[in-house]
C-alpha cells in the first residue's frame, strides 16, 4: 500500500500544479483549496513553500473522530473516504494534527486519498508515491504503554 509524500519540497516553486491537478482530476473542481494537497509559503514567499497533506496516520485521528463512517482507517495508514456518508460536522478537520483536512464553506472535507494523480503534474519532482512500511512497535514499548 502506498502513500503520497512531499519528499522534496525544497524544490517547490509554488506553482500549485499539484493542488489544481487533485481538484481537477479527483474532485472535478477548479480550485487550489478543494484538494488533498495544498501549497502555502513557509512564512512569506521568500522562505519557500510547504505542502499540507495527509501524513497517513495509523491510527488516523480524523477517522476516529468521524461520527458517520465517512472516513475509515486505511489498512497501512491514511483514510478511505465515502463522501455520501459525510454529515459535514467538521470533526475530521479539528482532529487532524497537521491541518491536512480542508473544509469548504459548506463544511465538505477535502483530504488526500493517496492516489498519486498529482505526482506527474509536479514540474520539479517534489512529490512521490512510496510504499508504506508498516510500523513495528517493539513488544517492550507496547507493555510500557
Amino acid at each position: 500500500m502506498k502513500k503520497l509524500t512531499a519528499a522534496r519540497m525544497e524544490r517547490c516553486i509554488g506553482c500549485h500544479s499539484c493542488s489544481l491537478a487533485c481538484a481537477r482530476l479527483v474532485h472535478r473542481q477548479l480550485s487550489w483549496n478543494k484538494a488533498g494537497i495544498r501549497i502555502r509559503s513557509a512564512g512569506g514567499l521568500s522562505t519557500g513553500f510547504q505542502a499540507r497533506l495527509c501524513l497517513a496516520c495509523n491510527p488516523a485521528p480524523c477517522a476516529e473522530a468521524c461520527p458517520s463512517g465517512a472516513l475509515s482507517q486505511r489498512r497501512d495508514g491514511g483514510v478511505i473516504q465515502k463522501r455520501k456518508l459525510c454529515i459535514r460536522c467538521g470533526k475530521c478537520a479539528e482532529a487532524c494534527p497537521v491541518d491536512a483536512v480542508f473544509l469548504d464553506h459548506e463544511v465538505n472535507p477535502y483530504l488526500c486519498i493517496h492516489c498519486g494523480r498529482c505526482v506527474e503534474f509536479c514540474p520539479h519532482d517534489c512529490l512521490e508515491l512510496v510504499e508504506i512500511i508498516p510500523e513495528i512497535v517493539p513488544a517492550s514499548q507496547e507493555d510500557a504503554s
Binding site: I13, G14, C15, H16, S17, L20, A23, R24, L25, R28, Q29, L30, S31, W32, N33, K34, R38, I39, R40, S41, G44, L45, S46, G48, R52, D104, H105, F121, P123, H124
Partner: protein, 583 residues
C-alpha cells in the same frame, strides 16, 4: 467559473463600500485587457486627471484564467501618472488565480480612502482597514505586516506599494507577492493617490468543472507541451537573463545610457554568471509550472566578527539591463543590491535605471550639479546609485521629485532631452534598431511586450516600411487576444489561435471559440480608442536623438527609415483609435 457575462467587484474607497455588478460584453471583449478597457469606458473619466479620486484602478482576468497552465496573469488598467493617459500593466504572482477563486472577473477600485488603508476582497470577504502606521514603509516589510493582518496563506495575493507609490512617483510600481510587479507607467502612484497601501485578494472559492474528458485531456497535453518540450527551456533555465550575453555580443545591449551597445567586460552580469554564482532557486506564478522567476541573493557583512545578513532578490533580463549595463554596473552582487533597493522603494526598475542613467550623463555634461543629485552619480558606482534610488523613491529634493515624474520632465527643465532614453517611457533593453525603437516609442504600453519589434529587427535586413508596420499591427492584435485570456506572453509559442479555440471550447466557452479574430480586433481598437480619448496623438511622438546615434550589428541606425516607420505606424495607430462611428 464559466459565465456569459462579467462579474465585477466595484469598491468605493471614499465610502468604504463595495458592490457586485454583472456586465455583458464577454463575446465582444473576452476579458483581461478587453474587459479592462470596457470598464474604463464605463467608470473612467477621460477629461479628468489621473489622480482624480473618482478615476478607477482596474484589475481584470480572462476566461481561461486558472483553467490552463500559464493563464496566470492579471491586467491592471488606469489613467497613468506618467502621461495622464489610459494605460495597462500586467503581472502574475498569485493575483490572477486569487481573482479567479475570489469569484471576480474584474475588480474596480474608485474613490480615495480617508486614511492610509489596506483593502481585502474575496468571494466572501470585504474589509477596509486603517494602516496609517505603514506610511513610508518599504514594499517588502509592508508585505510582512499585511501577511499577519489578513489570514489566508497559500490562497491569497498581496499587492502593496512602497514609498514611491505614496509619493506619487510617475513610475511607482505595485509589488505583487514579493517577486512580481505591475511595473510600468505608475500603477503604484494610482494606489498612492487612493491612499491604498495594500490590497489583499483572497481566493477562497472553487468551481465545478465541466463534465467529460475533453478538458482534463487537453490540460494534460498543454501541460506536457509546456514542461517537456524545448519551447519553454529558455525561460526556466537561465531565464530571460540569458539575453544579457546574447544581446551584448549582438551589439544591442544598452550600456551607460545607450552610449554604447556592447562592452567587452560584460561577463560579471551575464545570465550564466548570475545562474552559476548568485541563483538560489526558481519560483513560479500560481498556475504556471515553468517557474521563470529567478531568485538570487545578496550577502552583506553588517558587523565585525563575521556577522552577515542575506536578502533574496528576483532578477530578470530587464532588471540586469536597467540597473546593470545601463548604469555601467558590471558586478552581479552590485546589480542585485540595486534591484533590491528599487524593490524596497517600490519603483519600476526600468524607468529607475533609465532616469538615473540620464541623470549621470547630465551630471557629466554639467547640465545638473551635485547639489541637485546630492550624490556624485557615476557610471559603475553602485553604492552611489543605491543612495540615489532612495532619493528618487522618497522624493528627497526638487530634483529627484522632478526626475521621479519621468526623465523627459527633468530634461524639460535642465536640458539633455537629446540623450534621454525615452520611448514613451524609459526604454526597455533592446537596442536592436529602427523597428523596435518605433514600436516602443509609439506602442500602446510603450514596452517590448506590445509586439515583437526587437525580433523583427533581428530577422529582417531589408527596409520595407509597410511590411514592418503590418507586422507591428498584426503582432499587437494577436498579443491583445492572449492578454484578454490572460496568458503569460512566454506561452505565445504554444497558445496558437487553434489551441485557444480548443481550450475555450473544452471549458464551455464554445461561443467565444469561433469569434477570436473579431474579439482581437475589437480589443485592439477599444484599447487604442480609449488611449486616444485620454489625449494620445501618435503623430506627436518624438524619438530622441540618442536613438538615432545608436550603432548596432547592422551599423548606424538609419534615421530616414526610422522616421518613415514612425510616420506610417502613427497613422495606423490613429486609425485604430479613431472614434467608433468615424467610418
Amino acid at each position: 467559473m464559466i459565465r456569459d457575462h462579467f462579474r465585477v467587484c466595484l469598491v468605493d474607497l471614499s465610502k468604504g463600500s463595495m458592490q457586485v455588478l454583472e456586465r455583458g460584453g464577454r463575446d465582444q471583449f473576452c476579458g483581461g485587457g478587453g474587459l479592462a478597457a470596457m470598464l474604463f469606458q464605463e467608470f473612467g473619466h477621460v477629461d479628468r486627471p489621473w489622480d482624480d479620486p473618482d478615476q478607477p484602478l482596474i484589475f481584470a482576468i480572462g476566461p481561461l484564467t486558472g483553467y490552463f497552465p500559464l493563464m496566470s496573469k492579471t491586467v491592471c488598467a488606469f489613467k497613468s501618472p506618467y502621461h495622464d493617459q489610459y494605460a495597462e500593466s500586467h503581472a502574475g504572482g498569485r493575483s490572477a488565480l486569487s481573482m479567479r477563486f475570489g469569484d471576480m472577473d474584474a475588480l474596480v477600485i474608485r474613490g480615495r480612502a480617508n486614511r492610509l488603508s489596506a483593502l481585502a476582497v474575496g468571494a466572501r470577504t470585504f474589509e477596509l482597514r486603517d494602516v496609517h502606521f505603514l506610511r513610508g514603509r518599504d514594499a517588502l516589510s509592508c508585505g510582512r505586516v499585511i501577511r499577519d493582518m489578513f489570514p489566508g496563506s497559500g490562497r491569497r495575493s498581496m499587492l502593496r506599494i512602497g514609498p514611491a507609490g505614496e509619493n506619487r512617483c510617475s513610475y511607482a510600481c505595485i509589488n505583487v507577492d514579493t517577486y512580481r510587479h505591475f511595473g510600468r507607467l505608475g500603477a503604484g502612484a494610482v494606489m498612492g493617490a487612493k491612499n491604498l497601501k495594500a490590497l489583499v485578494i483572497l481566493g477562497d472559492r472553487g468551481f465545478a468543472l465541466p463534465e467529460g474528458k475533453a478538458y482534463p485531456a487537453l490540460f494534460k497535453e498543454v501541460y506536457r507541451q509546456l514542461t517537456t518540450t524545448a519551447i519553454m527551456d529558455k525561460y526556466h533555465g537561465l531565464g530571460t537573463a540569458g539575453n544579457v550575453g546574447a544581446l551584448n555580443e549582438l551589439r544591442a545591449l544598452p550600456w551607460r545610457n545607450l552610449q554604447q551597445t556592447h562592452d567587452p567586460d560584460a561577463d560579471g552580469i551575464t545570465g550564466e554568471r548570475m545562474a552559476e554564482d548568485r541563483l538560489l532557486r526558481n519560483a513560479a506564478c500560481a498556475g504556471c509550472p515553468v517557474g521563470c522567476i529567478h531568485i538570487g541573493y545578496v550577502r552583506e557583512k553588517f558587523q565585525e566578527n563575521y556577522q552577515y545578513l542575506y536578502r533574496q532578490v528576483a532578477y530578470d533580463y530587464e532588471l540586469i539591463f536597467a540597473v546593470g549595463s545601463m548604469l555601467g554596473v558590471k558586478d552581479s552582487f552590485d546589480a542585485l543590491r540595486l534591484m533590491d533597493t528599487v524593490e524596497l522603494m517600490g519603483l519600476d526598475v526600468m524607468s529607475t535605471g533609465g532616469a538615473l542613467a540620464w541623470a549621470t550623463e547630465a551630471l557629466e555634461k554639467g547640465l545638473v550639479t551635485e547639489k541637485q543629485t546630492l550624490v556624485p552619480l557615476a557610471f559603475g558606482d553602485a553604492a552611489t546609485y543605491m543612495t540615489a534610488i532612495e532619493h528618487l523613491g522618497r522624493n528627497s529634493n526638487e530634483f529627484y521629485t522632478l526626475l521621479s515624474k519621468g526623465t523627459l520632465r527633468a530634461a524639460g527643465v535642465f536640458g539633455g532631452g537629446d540623450f534621454a532614453c525615452v520611448l514613451g517611457q524609459e526604454m526597455a533593453g533592446y537596442a536592436t534598431g529602427e523597428v523596435f525603437f518605433t514600436a516602443e516609442g509609439l506602442g500602446f504600453r510603450h514596452s517590448h511586450l506590445d509586439s515583437g519589434g526587437y525580433a523583427y529587427d533581428q530577422k529582417h535586413e531589408e527596409q520595407d516600411v509597410e511590411s514592418a508596420v503590418d507586422f507591428l499591427v498584426e503582432d499587437e492584435k494577436s498579443r491583445a487576444l492572449l492578454c484578454a485570456m490572460v496568458s503569460c506572453l512566454f506561452a505565445r509559442g504554444v497558445y496558437s489561435e487553434d489551441l485557444l479555440s480548443e481550450a475555450l471550447e473544452s471549458v464551455g466557452y464554445g461561443n467565444l471559440a469561433g469569434r477570436l479574430d473579431s474579439m482581437a480586433g475589437n480589443i485592439q481598437r477599444l484599447r487604442w480608442r480609449t488611449r486616444v480619448q485620454t489625449g494620445y496623438d501618435a503623430a506627436e511622438v518624438h524619438i530622441p536623438k540618442r536613438f538615432r546615434e545608436v550603432v548596432t550589428w547592422k551599423g548606424p541606425v538609419d534615421d530616414a527609415y526610422m522616421e518613415a516607420l514612425r510616420e506610417a505606424y502613427a497613422r495606423r495607430i490613429m486609425a485604430l483609435g479613431a472614434p467608433e462611428n468615424a467610418d
